[in-house]
């Protein structure tokens, strides 16, 4: 008897020609952590693959209402995430606690961390990284080009701003103490994109500003976030320090949605455009959307 009997030959051929398992055999289940990440996934058309989001994923609105919520981006639980049986976790920079994400990785679920730099290059990199994670290279490139185009149009409009407005971004007014965005904050970056001057540029980071500081900053407009869909921001001009500023004199207050304004997701150039038009009403440019 030879080694290579007919039976073994047939068996060997069958094994060698057996089809490889298809790559798309297991449906993807993604836990998306971070407002911008979720937004990008929806824009890439992969919303059906999302099985869980965090509390900052507020756009589109159905992300939070239809998907399970794994908690705040910095207070995640390993078991909570694993209970959704994910095959992939895409997390924005700063998601934590780090031990929780490490436990998720130990469980065999890859965790892809995406940067959060608040600038054009950062957004484009973010879009491409998320697209690469879900193997959607073409649509990712298309989205990146669309956003790049948005930034280019924004720059054109910005060049037409004759007189940049001094604006003060007020994050909150707890107990009458304003928390303002100084240099290096996402608000500062957004004001720069909108062609405005940050009135709080002497401060670094988010800092409380005293009454005298508010008056010394002499903002011509105040920018605040609204308190939720359809909600109003607190009225800063109720405080005497604010009403004594040029912004108070002209009663110029711009209120926009927080995630839209500071999320630095795919809608960032639109948000900057809206902010620019709101701050410079004489500018011959249109708002992108009627969104508050």
């Amino acid at each position: 008897m030879t080694f290579l009997t007919r039976r073994r030959l047939i068996l060997a051929t069958a094994v060698l020609l057996a089809p490889l398992p298809s790559r798309a055999a297991v449906p993807r289940r993604i836990v998306s952590i971070g407002g911008a990440v979720t937004e990008i996934l929806y824009r890439l058309g992969h919303e059906s693959e999302i099985v869980g989001v965090d509390t900052t994923s507020q756009y589109p609105a159905e992300a939070l209402t239809t998907k399970p919520n794994v908690g705040y981006v910095r207070a995640l639980g390993a078991e909570g995430i694993l209970s959704l049986d994910p095959t992939l976790v895409i997390a924005t920079e700063g998601a934590g606690p780090p031990d929780a994400l490490r436990l998720v990785e130990q469980a065999g679920v890859p965790v892809i961390r995406v940067g959060d730099e608040p600038n054009q290059a950062g957004i484009l990199r973010r879009i491409r990284e998320v697209a690469r994670a879900v193997e959607e290279g073409e649509r990712g490139e298309a989205l990146a080009r669309e956003v790049e185009g948005g930034f280019a149009r924004l720059a054109e409009n910005r060049a037409r701003v004759a007189q940049p407005v001094r604006a003060l971004f007020v994050l909150s007014l707890q107990n009458g103490r304003p928390l303002v965005g100084g240099r290096g904050t996402t608000a500062d970056a957004m004001l720069a994109l909108a062609g405005a001057v940050n009135a709080a540029s002497t401060l670094e980071g988010w800092k409380p500003l005293s009454d005298e500081g508010v008056i010394a900053a002499a903002p011509e407009a105040i920018v605040m976030m609204n308190r939720g869909p359809g909600g109003d921001a607190q009225d800063p001009f109720a405080l005497p320090a604010f009403s004594a500023t040029p912004a108070g004199g002209a009663h110029r207050l711009v209120v926009m949605d927080g995630l839209y304004l500071l999320g630095f997701g795919p809608r960032a150039p639109l948000a900057a455009q809206d902010l620019m038009v709101a701050l410079h009403p004489d500018l011959p440019a249109t708002r992108w959307s009627a969104q508050p």
């Binding site: 078991e79 694993l82 929780a100």
Partner: protein, 355 residues
């Protein structure tokens, strides 16, 4: 058993009480292991515990990982931290002879929080050369060292000619707490957005980052404290009569004070370093037990350890499952569970409250 004395409940016998509490701890532990957002059936949990990772089988390796690497270290850490906080509370209340004494009084919590804030805000700049190999360990180690140094400092302030004045320590602790608060305010002013949020989340208190590494770091600090504290029981009982009376009874008063303070510093420092600030357990658990079993520290100290561990893991189980897959902050739940029960016990008493 004594009855009829105004304001005193029947004193329960030591054995049944401790056995009952131990049973409660086991039950809470079993519930903690079986319940969770992943929904693993209890039979499966027992199976994994019996066979470990290897015997779990390939197809359900995920279950084994959840049980052994996520839930079990969380359970062990919760028991250690809960026992540490409750025992420290009992020691402090016995030492200060004050029902409002809380482990934070010796300055441990304030010192640990300040050290943590310093590490978070200035860590990159100041401590980079030392942190290098252990970036993730810097924060807990810093918090623990901070708590210990603070306690030693306060002890030094309060001790003259070999005698520690408890009143001085109390006041110095209050003063240091205020100073630490001011310094932390300054640090939060210096911090950037991310550091500020890291700090507020650290101080919230959570068992969610529990790993075996953390357990291994905390156990050698907490277990000796739990084992050593019953030796202070008689001394603390005598101290409740007054320092002079205790001294004349032959109790080495200074040694008892020093040892109690050291044990509290180590236990609370380790707990705060591992799990952040979890309030309420240290104050309420010893009081609940005093109402149920009387002020004898020989019962109170071991019972506090058992009940503290039970309360914390019970609160943690609720924190993990109530809003799954999100997690609630545990400090809210320890208060939500402990406070109503404590109020109910107080209302049951016919007379006043005595230590």
């Amino acid at each position: 058993m004594s009855t009829g004395t105004p304001g005193r409940l029947l004193r329960t016998r030591r054995g049944p009480l401790l056995a009952g509490l131990a049973g409660g701890l086991l039950l809470a532990g079993f519930l903690a292991m079986s319940l969770g957002p992943t929904g693993i059936p209890p039979g499966r949990v027992v199976d994994v515990l019996a066979h470990g990772m290897v015997g779990a089988g390939q197809e359900r390796a995920g279950d084994a990982l959840i049980v052994l690497q996520v839930r079990l270290p969380r359970l062990v850490l919760g028991i250690l931290v809960g026992a540490a906080l409750a025992t420290s509370g009992a020691l402090m209340q016995g030492l200060f002879r004050n029902p409002l004494a809380d482990p934070g009084l010796v300055g441990v919590s304030a010192g640990a929080a300040l050290a943590a804030a310093t590490t978070i805000v200035l860590g990159d700049a100041l401590l980079a050369p030392w942190i290098g190999p252990l970036p993730f360990a810097a924060l807990p180690i810093g918090a623990f060292v901070g708590g210990l140094l603070t306690t030693l400092g306060l002890y030094a302030v309060a001790t003259r000619s070999g005698r520690t004045s408890i009143a001085t320590m109390l006041l110095a602790g209050v003063a240091f707490g205020a100073l630490a608060g001011a310094l932390m305010g300054f640090l939060s002013y210096l911090s950037d957005d991310r550091q500020l949020r890291d700090l507020s989340f650290w101080s919230l208190g959570s068992l969610s980052g529990a790993t075996w590494v953390k357990v291994a770091a905390v156990a050698p600090l907490v277990l000796p404290v739990l084992l050593a504290s019953p030796f202070l029981a008689r001394g603390l009982n005598a101290l409740s009569l007054g320092e002079a009376e205790a001294f004349h009874l032959g109790v080495p008063v200074q040694r008892v004070k020093a040892l109690a303070i050291l044990l509290v510093a180590v236990a609370v420092g380790a707990s705060v370093a591992a799990a952040g600030m979890i309030g309420f357990v240290g104050i309420v658990v010893p009081h609940v037990l005093r109402l149920a079993a009387g002020p004898d520290h020989r019962v109170l100290l071991p019972a506090s350890a058992l009940l503290g561990g039970t309360l914390l893991i019970g609160a943690d189980t609720v924190a993990r499952t109530l809003a799954a897959p999100a997690e609630l902050p545990i400090g809210i739940l320890t208060a939500a569970i402990g406070a109503p029960f404590f109020l109910w016990l107080l209302l049951r008493r016919p007379g006043g409250f005595s230590l």
